[in-house]
């Protein structure tokens, strides 16, 4: 504020937060669950950025992934089915100083929360939205989600799912004001971390779809990708993410891509034979709603009361021609 802090002579001793400081309760996800990898990467990001735990909020809806805030040592909001985004937006608009993260499952985001998802993209408020996409409702025990592959037998589609799976990337890239879209798989920790880091650095709404294993209900879902890493295509772009040497040795397929080109991003998002990994699209110039809407004057309770009373007085009936009190 007023640029005073940097000019101040006071040098505040900074507290260093370790990885453990960001850990909340012990995870109750199944062993082998991809959520653990996402949790580890996010905690590492918090440590490396030294985010103040009291200035960081994780918001979720309902689902396996929605347990995320419980396992973080920061503030959190475990919300209602599909309602993670509006809660996160509310937090952000009232407290723009907080770092806001949103964790949604594929059911949370792409089914019951779709309306919020579309408008959150358009409003482009600064936050990191992670879509934990394991193609199934895990918490409600093996029910089909919008991203469940066609033909898959689930508790709600015992004869195989009838519809082709939704592609959350093309949906996101189709919405007005989209400013950051990335895709990553949770089993490449190097890439996962770097993509989330870029998403955090982004100025507006950063949408990251994370393909995730569900060892319990979908144990063979990603076998084609795990057995044959060449099916994963890392996007090679100037301001994208750079793989470490160890990771680059394993994942060799590359697609050259200019992530400022929305049209190219949409084409890549629609690829069927390869799974693109990395940042598909980013545009730092899109205006953000939290900046546009930043209140110029504070709405203090007293101020609101004064305004209300003034309005009420217009309809008030005062005995003996006496005016409103205090007039």
């Amino acid at each position: 504020m007023f640029g005073l802090k940097s000019e101040s002579i006071l040098k505040l001793d900074e507290e260093y937060h370790e990885l453990g400081d960001y850990a909340g309760k012990e995870s109750r996800w199944c062993p082998g669950c991809g959520d653990n990898a996402i949790l580890a990467a996010t905690q590492k990001l918090c440590r490396d950025k030294q985010l103040a735990p009291e200035k960081t909020v994780f918001v979720s809806g309902i689902g396996c992934a929605a347990r995320f805030p419980h396992y973080m040592g920061t503030y959190g909001f475990h919300g209602l089915h599909g309602r993670a985004l509006p809660v996160a937006q509310g937090v952000k608009i009232r407290r723009p100083d907080l770092n806001v993260f949103v964790n949604m499952g594929d059911g949370d985001c792409c089914s019951i929360g779709t309306a919020h998802w579309i408008h959150a993209i358009r409003m482009n408020m600064k936050m990191v939205a992670m879509l934990h996409d394991n193609n199934i409702y895990g918490l409600t025990k093996n029910q089909a989600s919008p991203t469940t592959p066609i033909g898959r037998n689930t508790a709600t589609t015992p004869h195989g799912s009838l519809l082709k799976a939704m592609n959350p990337l093309t949906v996101t890239l189709g919405v007005t004001n989209v400013s950051f879209v990335a895709q990553v798989v949770e089993w490449i920790p190097d890439l996962l971390y770097k993509v989330i880091e870029q998403a955090f650095n982004h100025k507006g709404f950063a949408f990251v779809r994370i393909l995730q294993r569900c060892p319990h209900f979908m144990p063979t879902l990603w076998d084609q990708l795990l057995a044959n890493p060449d099916n994963l295509a890392v996007l090679d772009s100037e301001n994208g993410v750079q793989l470490s040497d160890a990771t680059a040795k394993v994942y060799k397929t590359r697609i050259a891509h200019d992530n400022s080109d929305l049209h190219a991003a949409r084409q890549i998002a629609s690829l069927e034979d390869k799974v693109p990994l990395g940042i598909l699209y980013r545009d730092e110039s899109v205006p953000t709603y939290d900046e546009l809407k930043r209140p110029r004057r504070l709405h203090a309770p007293e101020l609101a009361e004064a305004v209300l009373n003034k309005s009420f007085d217009r309809f008030g009936i005062f005995p003996n021609n006496a005016g409103p009190i205090g007039d």
Partner: protein, 813 residues
């Protein structure tokens, strides 16, 4: 002169509903008729007596009163001249603060959307309205614009003797003009106090804009502290009392709830922590200080501010007192502000911060904070200043306090005629040499420049001096204030410049000589039109100097001698020619300038030594300013000359060298050519006589190198390949994990927590392979989704079913 800015209005003669103002005719030259031979010596003695000693032989005769410098004659009637005044000064800070009536009228015509004849008609009507408004304003120097304009409009309509249809058109046009004029504005003509008036308008607007930017931040801070106190109040035991609970819920629910019981129940719950006493005291104190300053920054508040930011000081002592008061208030305020920032983040550490804030004073304020101190405005006029103020004023202007001094000048002479001290008129130059204050010097005739300088000076984070001459007003100059001020600028009496130290460390960027006509010349000259003695229209070039400026000043009139038309004397010569003479040649010469009297007759006016002395010192000061402002700078000129000489001599040397080179080359070529021709001729002669196949005598002998390459140059042995450490084989016997590829899925750590653990990046590694069985290792390797666990060889040969496990471990090693 000043033709660019001043243009004559096109007054519609025929249609005008007002009587046309008299347009001044061209002045006339009067032919001398008197005989000169007889009185010649006496006249010369009289003239010299006047010029050298200031004594006039005809002291009894009175000079024509209404005498104007010749070049100013066309401006005698200012009503029909469109220029920068009167000004519209907006009282609403969101509007353009200052605009001239003329430019607003032009804008109204352009914005009307009319084209062709209707537009031209509107323009004429608007110009008539403008002239009428100026006439109405002449009585008092400023008025409420809307009221006066309405009056003038009504008067115009009432006095117009036109057909009904034309009258309605005029009425419509007047309505258009009235609607286009700014609401809530003051119309003000030029007056000696124009500078403080304009400054108030500009500074109020500047301060309002500056406050707007951080009002929200300040309020946020106040409410943030309030929030802390409010939530603390709710945590205190008193908050659990029945009364408090009742108040919190408000009226209407009183009967439904038993607050006593609720209070008793709450009393049993865990007591929340309350703020420690020193912290809550600190917050309350800081909050009170912040709140007290809210009105200073334009936030509505019922509290009385520690000082009134709109209070202007009238003398130096008052300014010092005001500044001291403000300094104390600002230091307290910014201390509270910094404490508030720390408290909001809960970073205030008494051990560390208490001492710092105890010693906190004005020197600790950052540049940004100092910019938020409302400046002290000191309004001074030359008249009232005495010499004792000079020291204090210089000291103030040499400090880093935000004190803005608006100095209104009213006397441009160095003598006692005006009764005002002369030093204030030179103050700007002296302060500029201090180098730390913003300085502006100018005249009231250019409100645009004043406005720009005022807003730059108001934004400057330190002291500023605005030294402005806006005319002498009644009793001084013959001229109206606008012309008086404009001619001070024109005559170099008070040149306009700006010195802004915030623009860099170099003189070239800090100092700008601006708005001075023809800054490269000593004096300005212009074309003067008149009827010559034969009655023909004629023109000549006249120079406008400080002498012309003084001529218009009634207090200086006795230093000028208006000469008879009949007087013919060779010793008399125009001032410019006199100045061009060498000092020794000026002996027995008397300079004169041209003026025009009320009867439009051109008069020669002799000047005496006092005027000449003033003129020379004005020229001197102008020359010094030119140098400072980079106009014909003597240092630069000398440097340029030296460099030019050096370059020229270098060029000459190079030319000579090149010439010599060319000549010697030519000689050489010529020699070689001759030799070759001779050789060829000789060859031909010889070959013609010799046996074919014989080698030509002149051909050089063929030389064949027989020396073989030395042994040392043989191929260098290929470098020995360095062993790549990364490729060093890892022992397959030891179990290991590619930790960097671990996805933290919890599989292995849940299966065998005694063997596997997470490292500082939460990625798995083998903590202790010997604490478990080989079977466990192999099972974990099989389960690992990214296949990064390598079981190695079993440690314990006695383990059961070892063969099977070794076989199953094979794919992972």
């Amino acid at each position: 002169m000043a033709k660019d800015s001043v243009q004559k209005a096109e007054v519609a003669a025929k249609e005008s509903p007002l009587p046309a103002a008299p347009v001044p005719g061209l002045p006339r030259e009067i032919l001398a008729t008197g005989d000169k031979s007889e009185k010649s010596t006496e006249i010369l003695r009289n003239l010299l007596n006047f010029h050298l000693h200031g004594q006039r032989s005809d002291a009894s005769t009175t000079d024509p009163a209404d005498l104007w410098p010749a070049l100013l004659h066309p401006f005698r009637d200012m009503r029909n001249i469109r220029y920068e005044f009167p000004l519209l000064v907006a009282s609403d800070p969101r509007q353009k603060p200052v605009q001239s009536l003329s430019s607003r009228i032009d804008e109204i015509v352009e914005e009307s959307g009319l084209e062709g004849d209707p537009k031209e008609r509107l323009r004429r009507h608007a110009y008539q309205f403008e002239a009428a408004l100026k006439g109405a304003l002449a009585e008092n120097s400023s008025a409420n614009l809307t009221q006066l304009a309405r009056q003038v409009g009504d008067k115009m309509l009432a006095s117009a003797t036109l057909e009904e249809s034309r009258k309605s058109v005029l009425s419509l046009d007047i309505d258009t003009v009235l609607a286009g004029l700014p609401q809530a504005a003051e119309i003000t003509d030029t007056s000696p106090d124009i500078a403080p008036k304009l400054y108030r308008s500009v500074a109020t607007r500047h301060w309002a804009m500056q406050c707007l930017q951080w009002q929200a931040d300040l309020e946020q801070l106040v409410h943030g502290l309030g929030d802390i106190l409010r939530s603390d109040a709710e945590n205190r035991p008193e908050a659990r009392s029945a009364d408090h609970l009742r108040n919190v819920l408000g009226t209407g629910k009183g009967e439904d709830l038993d607050f006593e019981r609720m209070s008793a129940m709450l009393a049993k719950t865990r007591q929340a922590d309350i703020l420690p006493e020193p912290r809550s005291r600190r917050i309350i104190e800081a909050l009170a200080l912040l709140k007290a300053m809210l009105p200073v920054y334009g936030v509505d508040s019922e509290l009385a501010p520690p000082f009134d930011p709109a209070l202007y000081a009238g003398d130096v002592g008052e300014a010092v007192v005001q500044w001291n008061l403000r300094q104390i208030a600002m230091v307290e305020f910014f201390r509270a502000l910094r404490i508030a920032e720390l408290e909001l983040e809960n970073h205030y550490d008494p051990a560390k911060h208490d001492r710092f804030f105890e010693e906190f004073d004005y020197t600790h304020l950052s540049a940004g904070e100092r910019a938020l101190c409302p400046p002290v405005v000191l309004e001074l006029s030359q008249q009232g200043l005495d010499a004792s103020a000079a020291g204090a004023l210089l000291e103030l202007l040499d400090s880093d306090a935000p004190i803005k001094v608006i100095l209104t000048l009213n006397a441009m002479d160095e003598d006692e005629f005006s009764g005002s001290p002369a030093w204030p008129a030179r103050l700007a130059g002296a302060v500029m040499s201090l180098g730390s204050a913003f300085v502006f010097q100018g005249t009231g005739s250019n409100p645009e420049a004043l406005q720009e300088a005022f807003s730059a000076g108001a934004a400057y984070p330190g002291p500023a001096l605005f030294s402005v001459y806006a005319g002498t007003g009644a009793g001084g100059s013959e001229l109206p204030p606008y012309l008086d001020a404009a001619s001070a600028l024109e005559a170099r009496t008070l040149p306009c410049y700006r010195f802004d130290p915030s623009l860099g460390a170099e003189q070239a960027t800090r100092m700008v000589l601006m708005n001075n006509p023809r800054p490269e010349q000593t004096w300005v000259s212009d074309i003067f039109s008149y009827f010559n003695a034969a009655g023909e229209e004629s023109a000549m070039e006249l120079t406008f100097t400080h002498a012309d400026f003084l001529l218009a000043d009634r207090r200086w009139r006795k230093e000028f001698w208006v000469l008879d038309h009949d007087l013919q004397e060779e010793a008399l010569l125009p001032l410019v020619e006199f100045l061009a003479l060498d000092v020794s040649q000026r002996v027995n010469r008397v300079p004169y300038v041209l003026a025009v009297d009320a009867g439009h007759e051109i008069r020669r006016v002799a000047i005496n030594y006092r005027v000449l002395k003033q003129l020379l010192s004005v020229a001197n000061r102008w020359r010094a300013l030119q140098e400072a402002g980079g106009v014909d700078n003597s240092h630069a000129r000398i440097l340029l000359a030296t460099e030019r000489t050096r370059l020229e001599s270098e060029l000459q040397a190079k030319t000579v060298e090149l010439q010599q080179q060319t000549e010697s080359q030519l000689d050489q070529n010529l020699g070689e050519l001759t030799r070759e021709i001779v050789t060829r001729i000789a060859d031909q002669l010889i070959s013609g006589a010799s046996v074919p196949g014989m080698p030509v005598a002149s051909a050089p002998p063929v030389r064949r190198s027989q020396v073989s390459a030395p042994a040392a140059l043989e191929e260098v042995a290929a470098p020995v390949e360095e062993a790549d450490e990364d490729d060093a084989p890892i022992s397959l016997d030891e179990p290991y994990i590619d930790s960097v590829l671990c996805t933290t899925c919890d599989d292995c750590t849940k299966m065998a927590p005694h063997i596997f653990a997470y490292d500082e990046n939460k990625q798995a590694y083998i903590k202790d392979a010997t604490s478990g069985t080989f079977q466990e290792l192999v099972l974990a390797a099989e389960k690992c989704p990214v296949k990064i666990i390598h079981p190695g060889k079993p440690k314990n040969p006695a383990e059961k079913n070892l063969d099977e496990w070794i076989a199953r471990a094979q794919p992972f090693n």
